[in-house]
């Protein structure tokens, strides 16, 4: 009986040790500074911090500034009350951004996809009108990422809008001869390395159809296209 108890205790101790080791490994793994980007050597009147750990929140020591040779040396104020102060900084992860010729997208943007020169660049469209909208997805983060783009249409008047989508100079939806519906434009998990960008060209066209006159006769018939991008770090 005593031996049995002793054996059980041993097993329990081993289990505890293994579990604690797993916890420690998990913590260490996710505190690792992944995809560390090589920093440029900065010059000029900047503060250069020497990072002496590889955590996202690091302890740093300010180093002496080295002014440019062609600029007069400036006296750098030192906090006399707290010399050699150690400070905490948060490393800016950056973000994946989307931009067009006018703006960088936020979550409340109105895009000029349907801007029409025939109507003083207002978003007014008529049958057989067409145009192209360019946008760029840019990885300004410190990670390699993958991203997905989803297109959502609101079309209560059944306007026969069709699309093509190019990435760079290659069609990824539709082609030279064929237009597709909005729901054929979606794609998932496109890889994008640090500092890289993808350029997209969204072509649209109101293809003539039998209900065009009814649409135009419904004054102020409108149409909406939403483009949603989601990006995440590649593990």
């Amino acid at each position: 009986m005593k031996e049995k108890n002793k054996k059980n205790n041993t097993i329990n101790i081993i289990i505890y040790i293994v579990l604690i080791a797993i916890i420690i490994l998990l913590l260490l793994h996710n505190c690792t500074f992944k995809n560390k980007k090589e920093s440029k050597v900065l010059s000029g009147n900047v503060d250069i911090f020497e990072i002496n750990c590889d955590k996202k929140t690091c302890l740093v020591e300010p180093t002496k500034n080295e002014p440019k040779k062609d600029e007069p040396e400036k006296e750098i104020p030192v906090n006399k009350e707290e010399p050699n102060t150690e400070r905490d900084i948060e490393i800016d992860e950056g973000s994946v951004i989307v931009e067009d010729d006018d703006i960088t997208w936020t979550n409340s943007n109105k895009l000029r996809i349907f801007s029409n020169a025939m109507y003083e660049n207002k978003n007014v469209i008529a049958p057989e009108d067409s145009n192209t909208y360019k946008f760029v997805v840019r990885n300004n983060t410190i990670y390699n990422v993958k991203y997905s783009i989803n297109f959502v249409e609101t079309n209560n008047y059944n306007i026969n809008l069709k699309y093509k989508l190019k990435r760079g100079n290659k069609y990824i939806a539709g082609d030279e001869s064929n237009w597709v519906s909005y729901n054929e434009l979606d794609f998932n998990d496109k890889l994008l390395d640090i500092s890289e960008s993808d350029t997209y060209y969204l072509e649209w066209k109101w293809v003539s159809s039998d209900n065009d006159a009814l649409v135009g006769n419904s004054l102020n018939a409108n149409y909406q296209l939403k483009i949603e991008l989601d990006a995440e770090e590649i593990e």
Binding site: N30, V124, Q224, L225, E232, E233
Partner: protein, 190 residues
């Protein structure tokens, strides 16, 4: 029992730590753009009838303005030699695209679609009228997208005709005439 509780506590801790660090560790980002378009208006009326929603417009007798050239015809009637005009107003005001139009004149018949019974009646474009086919350019100005087509209706014959009237003419007394005119409007494409 105590050992089992401790083991359970560590497993729960492990799960909580695993979930929290995995959530914390993955960078995520999103962006959304929205675009709205308005369809260009299409509003075309023929003699005030919306041709998008109405397939047919019936002219009334009052739409025809008869000349009083047949002086010996009873007032309110027409006789061989009479001429009249019908005005067809194509109104595209409010339309936001240029409009191509066509006015096609069909065969005149009597009320029973009898063509021969209406022999002698002709309907043509009046000399002073714009062409039966054309384009109305886009204009935001009120009245800037209107076009009036004038048709001339003629009952051949002369007031001085002293011959006995032909059967066809006599047969048209108190009859109704049908003059089909079809107006087609389409968006002008460059």
């Amino acid at each position: 029992m105590k050992n089992k509780k401790s083991l359970l506590a560590i497993i729960v801790l492990l799960v909580v730590v695993g979930v929290s660090v995995s959530t914390y560790a993955i960078y995520k980002s999103s962006a959304t753009g929205t675009a709205t378009a308005t369809a260009a208006a299409w509003v075309v009326k023929v003699n005030n009838a919306n041709i998008v929603t109405e397939d047919e417009y019936t002219f009334s007798a009052s739409d025809i303005v008869w000349d009083n050239s047949v002086s010996n015809a009873q007032a309110g009637t027409i006789a061989p030699g009479s001429t009249g005009t019908i005005k067809i107003k194509i109104d595209a005001d409010g339309t936001q695209v240029p409009v191509d139009y066509t006015v096609a004149i069909g065969t005149v018949t009597d009320g029973t679609n009898n063509v021969s019974a209406a022999a002698g009646f002709t309907v043509t474009k009046a000399t002073s009228s714009p062409d039966l086919t054309g384009t109305i350019d886009y204009s935001a100005t009120e009245g800037g997208m209107e076009k009036e087509i004038t048709l001339q209706v003629t009952w051949t014959g002369t007031a001085a005709d002293s011959d006995d009237k032909i059967t066809a003419d006599l047969g048209l007394a108190s009859k109704t005439l049908k003059i089909p005119v079809t107006v087609t409007a389409t968006q002008h494409l460059n």
